[in-house]
């Protein structure tokens, strides 16, 4: 595994790897999405209490899972960046943040849409909703921080520090529904004793979760390639300015003699 990471540490090799792999991950994403939607919208039973509204769970829960997983990946990558100084870690963190923020926003909005007819309210400040909202703010702060630096390397390291600081929020989100007994439903899938959800509902959930996971992987690969190209372009531009400047200086020296 460490050989794999060391192999990919060279940005050129990583770019070639990403260029080859991303069409396949996109394809897997589309397949998972179609299967998940078919199961979720058509071939699964309605809830006996909520009726058809339970189908919102098939976008809300995978989006929430992805928002947490992406932040967890960003935390590990930030540790790699600050401690091991792996050259790829900063790149991947910067490219993951917009995707994570989008998933968090989807989770918040679909949860709100689910909540209005089912539990009667668009929003309530219970522990899980509040801490996911805090997660969304931390994502936004990360994106702002990375872009405010002129020196990109410094910006990435500063954002890594911020990611580590915000990582305390993840256990609060996970365990908040156990610690406080308020509106949001307690854990029913990832808890001790195994999932307590019926298999007919588990299947579309897993397919949608896999679809979102491969969405993340595909667009992480595409976005990081774009970043590598952008850096190369900037370097060429700076090199061109240097060459141009030297030419002008040489020409003016000849003119002055």
């Amino acid at each position: 595994m460490s050989l794999f990471f060391n192999f990919l540490a060279n940005p050129s090799r990583y770019r070639k790897f990403a260029e080859n792999v991303y069409p396949y991950t996109l394809l897997i994403m589309f397949i998972m999405l179609i299967v998940g939607l078919w199961y979720g919208l058509y071939n699964s039973p309605p809830d006996y209490q909520q009726g058809e509204m339970v189908r919102i769970m098939y976008v809300h829960v995978p989006a929430a899972w992805m928002s947490l997983m992406i932040y967890f990946c960003m935390t590990i990558l930030s540790l790699f960046s600050l401690i091991l100084k792996h050259p790829l870690a900063d790149l991947l963190t910067k490219c993951s943040a917009p995707i994570g923020a989008s998933f968090t926003m989807i989770a918040l909005v679909t949860g709100s849409i689910w909540g209005k007819p089912t539990w009667g309210t668009w929003w309530v400040w219970d522990a899980r909703l509040t801490s996911v909202f805090i997660l969304f703010l931390i994502y936004l702060g990360h994106i702002a921080l990375v872009n405010v630096f002129e020196d990109e390397v410094k910006g990435a390291k500063a954002a890594a520090i911020l990611t580590l600081l915000g990582a305390f929020n993840l256990p609060i989100i996970k365990f908040s529904v156990d610690w406080w007994n308020t509106l949001h439903q307690p854990a029913s899938i990832m808890k001790i004793g195994g999932p307590s959800i019926h298999i007919d509902m588990m299947v579309p959930l897993i397919f949608m979760a896999l679809a979102f996971l491969f969405y993340y992987i595909s667009f992480l690969l595409i976005n990081s390639q774009a970043e590598i190209y952008k850096k190369r372009l900037k370097k060429t531009y700076i090199n061109n300015i240097e060459i141009h400047k030297n030419q002008i200086l040489n020409n003016s020296r000849k003119y002055n003699e």
Binding site: V59, I113, Y215, Y229, R232, L233
Partner: protein, 40 residues
């Protein structure tokens, strides 16, 4: 209960719109940078 279909529809529509807009934006920036880099 079936009058709630508008909620389900809007939830799925919102999530797919967000994912599609983000995906298109990332993909289009990727394509434009890749085309500018063709002299490598």
């Amino acid at each position: 209960m079936s009058s709630h279909l508008i909620y389900i529809f809007s939830a799925y529509l919102f999530s797919f719109l967000v994912l599609m807009i983000l995906g298109l934006k990332i993909y289009l920036t990727f394509c434009s940078y890749k085309n500018k880099n063709n002299n490598f």
